[in-house]
């Protein structure tokens, strides 16, 4: 008979084979995926639970605001460490984020040449550098030259950790923006920098923010480079040219002490660090997710209206 029709019947019958087996495989894959997620979450969750359980008892107003007491006394607090962490995160971000964002823009928008390819390669290598090496680098070129430990050296070392992460994530998020928007901007007679800064960046904003937050979280927990640069201190911040405390340093020192009270304070400091990082993440996301709450946007609008 008509052979193509017969063959078509045969092909159709193929799709009816193995239905039970295929459904089973589908189920198994789903189970594997879910169990892997659970396996990954358990340690993370238990760390959080452990830190919270142990740390919460240490936390009080005095603990958050006072300078550390004598070792093992169980008195005093981590005020200088909290202050120092906020200063060092802020300062490193001020240096690392603009440079990282600009490098990312370069790599994405102007990055089709030899220079950019080598920058991209070294950037990737740099991203995986052990942070202690960056600490030693900052120690050599700033601390040794100046002759004293310095907040600048710490911020420099941490911004070195930040900027490759920011550059890479910025590049990736800019590349995700479809070329049609660039074409539309070009056809409107806009210059490249206006297209990049006013159209492409606003479309890539959420990815870029994720990268910046990732890098902030990363440097918030860095300890090794800080030992080489800001050393640690039990006093509040006094100048850029003296040692300063930071939460990771304080946690490290407290955990080395053989006293239960010090260990407890260490847990408390760890909890505070987690809350700070979480707070920065949630705060920044909220700020950018809800345009109506844009504080600066409101300010600018008010100013514009008063000018009119």
């Amino acid at each position: 008979m008509n052979s193509i029709q017969n063959r078509r019947q045969e092909y159709r019958s193929l799709f009816k084979q193995n239905v039970a087996k295929r459904l089973l495989v589908d189920k198994i894959v789903r189970i594997i995926v879910f169990s892997c997620v659970i396996i990954a979450i358990i340690p993370l969750g238990s760390i959080l639970v452990e830190v919270f359980k142990n740390g919460i008892t240490a936390i009080s107003i005095e603990f958050l605001t006072e300078t550390p007491g004598s070792a093992g006394s169980g008195e005093g607090g981590i005020g200088p460490a909290i202050q120092g962490t906020l200063i060092i995160i802020g300062l490193s971000s001020l240096i690392g984020v603009p440079i990282g964002v600009m490098s990312g823009i370069f790599l994405s928008e102007y990055g089709d040449n030899k220079l950019a390819r080598s920058v991209r390669f070294f950037n990737d290598v740099f991203m995986e550098f052990p942070s202690i090496i960056l600490g030693i680098f900052a120690f050599l070129i700033i601390v040794l030259v100046l002759g004293h430990f310095s907040v600048w050296a710490g911020a420099f070392a941490l911004s070195l950790i930040m900027f490759p992460i920011v550059a890479r994530t910025t590049e990736e998020s800019l590349k995700m923006v479809p070329i049609t928007y660039r074409e539309a901007g070009t056809a409107l007679g806009l210059t490249k920098w206006i297209i990049t800064f006013r159209i492409i960046i606003s479309a890539a904003k959420s990815g870029m923010i994720t990268g910046i937050l990732l890098s902030v979280s990363r440097i918030g927990g860095e300890t090794a480079p800080l030992i080489m640069t800001i050393l640690g201190s039990s006093q509040f911040f006094s100048s850029m040219d003296t040692p300063m405390d930071a939460l990771p340093l304080r946690i490290w020192r407290l955990s080395l002490l053989p006293y239960d009270s010090a260990q407890l304070q260490g847990w408390g400091a760890a909890l505070v660090l987690i809350i700070i990082i979480l707070g920065i993440n949630l705060g920044v996301r909220y700020y950018f997710s809800n345009k109506k709450n844009l504080f600066f946007g409101k300010l600018i609008k008010q100013r514009r209206n008063t000018i009119k």
């Binding site: 409107l188 007679g189 806009l190 159209i199």
Partner: protein
Amino acid sequence: MTALSTKPTDMETSSIDTKSIESKYKMIAENVTVSYDGIDAVKNVTMKFKEKSVTALIGPSGCGKTTFLRCLNRMHDMTKNAKVTGKVMIDDIDLYSKDIDPIYHRRKVGMVFQKPNPFPTMSIFDNVTAGLRLNGVRDKRILDEIVEDSLKMAYLWDEVKNDLKKSAIELSGGQQQRLCIARALAIQPEVLLMDEPASALDPIATQKIEETITELKKDYAIIIVTHNMQQAIRVSDYTGFMYLGDLIEFRETKKLFTDPKDELTAKYVQGHFG
């Protein structure tokens, strides 16, 4: 910059001004060849576009219509492996000469793309005014006027006039395309390039766009790429038929469709291949 003189209200009463078609050439493409990685996509095409007229480019897929259209405002500058030779004169200025800044001349040439591409993070108002605001126009009165005029010309005004602050991507596909037309018109170009502008629109929206084109012809030179031969017959004064990168025939639309000189053109317009 003043408000646009054409309002959609007098569109119905307008008739095509045949005398103005006799006027001078607005844009001349001379011996334009485009090659991608050494392979010619457009071969030595010469076309002259008159002021206040609509020129349609037709031809089967892959014949180089869009590639040619994109030469007319130097969009190939963005494609690294594309090489363009030849001349594109607009008002006696060669777009491709070395001392020309394409940024300035692109403002004389508006472009509407095949797929709607409104800026996703901007409102309707901001999209229409993007070309002006981002080039430094701040006067609220002018921006408001241009938004209203441009959206009316693109037949979108009635649908969006009450929520100009709404995000552009909340609009339907057809509305987005009309928004893109409004955005292109807002920079007050003298030439309008349209790359299958109606391929994403329903018949009613298409009809509206075609009416817009007929109306815009009073003031602009329009060059439209289309797959739809009926559309070319309806809106254009001149039609160029392209095949495999060559311009096969370029004549008045009526003549090209009723009395094609070339055998290939005849076959194509009669629907023997496509």
